[in-house]
Amino acid sequence: MTTIQLPTGSNGARILGFGAYRPRRRVTNDELAQTMDTNDEWIQARVGIAERRWAAPDETLVEMSVAAGGKALAASGLDASDIDLVLLATTSPPTAIPGIAPQVAHQLGIPRPGAFDLNAGCAGWCYALGSAADSIRSGSARNVLVVGGERLTDYTNLDDRGTAVIFADGAGAAVLGPSDEPRIGPVVWGSDGDLHEAIAVPLGEQGMSMAGQAVYRWATTKLTATLEEAMRRAGVGPDDIDVFAPHQANLRIIELMAKRLKLPERTVIARDIVRSGNTSAASVPLALSALQESGESKSGDVALLLGYGAGLTFAGQVVVLP
């Protein structure tokens, strides 16, 4: 019988660096209040957003992904030629065919890496992070660029006050490499496909629709178990968590999740949504990048991540920050 060989991978994987791209145009709640029936107080109370970024025509998803990816590469200390896999998590591609990961890789000067787009809703980047870490451990890849990028405003009816105040644009990225000591915990991923209509751009329609109460209920009740499982599988507990960075969907969801987990007072909670809005697959890497830039997170911090959203999908893991 012919035996098939497998490569020796590595014991673990780790994040080497982050990069972020935020569109130039800042849109405040007051600006939105001029063209639709809403106001700053309502938006802040309901979702926790003070301002968000909307991409201009020249800030394409490819451009933003390249910008974020390039910064992550620089932060990692690696060369483009060291990268052999590019994962690009997005729900808002410019075209269905082709996916954009190969083009992003090409523009970054990465020579012919494995490259694919990944659509797992707002959980996409955490799904991609899990996949990337697994690839490194198994030997399918050595150094991986994991991008989360969105132009959600392409898929949002910007006259609909229910969604126009929430969804926004941007890209975040991380470069991963092998590690003797695991610095990325096992991914806990899942889905609730019975709720597939809860967050959607219905076929034939132009804009996003979201069943707010149903999603809020799901996010604040069903995902505590996932977060606890992610910690358990990584061999840590709430007291070990220095940083909590869930998908920045709604500030009230984030606060309620943190409360239900009984995280210690000292845990830094990512609240990038206040300045960035909800950027779906870009939101976790953007939030981690923001915490690093502000100094709220430190190298070596243990971070609990969770993506969750359209699908409905969810994925979480514990990581050590670079």
Partner: protein
């Protein structure tokens, strides 16, 4: 459980979730108009009601619960 006991339990939930003063949690009060409780807080209240009273309030039923009295009646009617 009596309506009085339910009201007390519900008042505890309203204080915890939405900072409502227990003395204000009386049957005629409207959640949105009188107690400043929005639709997302109503979801939190429904979750807490399920934990405390064992009564589930699905989203479509939640829309029909406008006052504290409506909530008490729903819980009373559906308790095991």
């Amino acid at each position: 459980m009596s309506r009085e006991d339910i009201q007390t339990g519900l008042a505890e939930i309203l204080e915890e979730v939405a900072g409502v003063t227990p003395a204000d949690a009386t049957p005629e009060k409207s959640f949105t108009d009188d107690l400043d409780v929005d639709s997302l807080s109503m979801v939190e209240i429904a979750t807490a009601v399920e934990d405390k009273f064992g009564v589930a309030i699905p989203d479509d039923e939640l829309g029909n619960i406008k006052t504290v009295g409506d909530a008490i009646s729903f819980i009373e009617k559906n308790q095991g």
